[in-house]
Symmetry: C2
Subunit: 242 residues, 2 copies
């Protein structure tokens, strides 16, 4: 075998392109700077626009780029860390994390949530919607599901009810919490709140809080995957949070 590197498979064009662009971003562009448009970039690299777009999509997935229809493609700032989990005074405090409640009412939760709450399928619970804003932009939207018995007072609809339920949760004695994180794509409804197109990648955080007598709340939080790094401080430290 006189050849040196035959077993190497040809790298896909878009993959190589991604590497080249990534290096260029590091060396030749500043955060916030706007890139040449897709048609020009494609021409410059001698590929079809679709191929170029495949590379850009990857870079956007990694949080390196930000693309906005009608505007252009800009170099994204590094992801910022958003704190998840036991922080500050209570898990439902508005102020700390930048949460802003938007209303609530009774609904039938999704089956997966009902299972976590250990309520019968089809049973109604109180659902509370809130959105989290950090660094001046929306990073997450959340639905809190509270079984009726956990909020014993009369609960009307709307913002006022939401605030009252939230306050009641703050007074609750929570014993434990379990949490899971998985990849999802943003549903049409949440997309608007997060200022993204439907289908954009999100990190879905599901948390179940339990009181002495069983599950008290299930929170389903949807975080923008492009701009956020979720941080967990398990033992009082917080250096990854930058």
């Amino acid at each position: 075998m006189g050849t040196t590197q035959l077993e190497t498979v040809p790298e896909p064009k878009y993959w190589h392109l991604k590497t080249v662009l990534s290096d260029a971003l590091d060396s030749e562009f500043a955060v916030g700077e706007i890139l040449p448009n897709e048609r020009e970039l494609a021409a410059r690299f001698g590929v079809a626009r679709a191929t170029l777009r495949q590379a850009l999509e990857q870079l956007e997935l990694e949080g390196r780029l930000q693309r906005r229809r009608g505007v252009g493609t800009t170099v994204a700032p590094p992801r910022f860390g958003v704190g998840i989990g036991p922080a500050g005074e209570g898990p439902f405090a508005d102020a700390e994390g930048g949460w802003q409640t938007e209303g609530g009412g009774e609904t039938v939760p999704p089956a997966a949530v009902a299972r976590l709450l250990e309520t019968p399928a089809g049973a109604r619970v109180f659902a509370l919607r809130r959105t989290r804003v950090t660094h001046g932009q929306p990073v997450a939207t959340e639905l809190l599901y509270v079984p009726e018995q956990a909020v014993p007072e009369e609960t009307p609809e709307g913002d006022e009810a939401a605030r009252r339920v939230l306050a009641a949760l703050g007074r609750l004695g929570l014993e434990s919490q379990e949490r899971s994180v998985e990849l999802g794509s943003v549903r049409a409804e949440d997309a608007r709140r997060l200022d993204r197109l439907p289908g954009a990648p999100v990190l879905v955080v599901t948390t179940r809080y339990a009181a002495q007598d069983g599950p008290a709340v299930v929170a389903v939080s949807t975080y923008r995957a492009d701009t956020c790094r979720l941080t967990f401080a398990d033992s009082g430290a917080e250096a990854l949070a930058g």
Copy 2:
């Protein structure tokens, strides 16, 4: 305004397709079942193959489908939970999580890791590679970065060295840990280990463990985002782990 719903923007075809397919998956297909091939599906729905593929990509991102080149598209089983964080005897125990060490040696860590370790840029550390197997398939690959002073003995290269460093870590008194989770795409090197194509979405978990005298280890773990749900048990409970 005699019209009922004019402000509704026409839904993209691939988005609508995704919904239709998603419903079909729930009602007409069993886990593991193989779907008709892309060319036929595209014809059946009257769209171009590229458009169909956009819908399939979304469903794969959500863990509903699994596509393998040369084989076909199958219905994926529900994601399984993999435990992250303080579990069992120690954070570096092989047995519990299915970790399998693959070797190690000295290297210069990436800048981001050096910053977390608080070592000077360009300083060499010991890097240990291991891979995690659950439910019979690889779910994660990890690089553990250990500054030299934390492993004071002489450290040769290879598997033997890795095992020795791992044992030393087990004896270390760790005081705290901080963790972050973000979306990434798998690098070519890790792709093989995880049995995925380069660029596939992954959840990158970065953990810094500290001992009394400062940072002791930084672990960068790369989890398959299509098959895994990361679970965190913060207060002794573990019901989301299923």
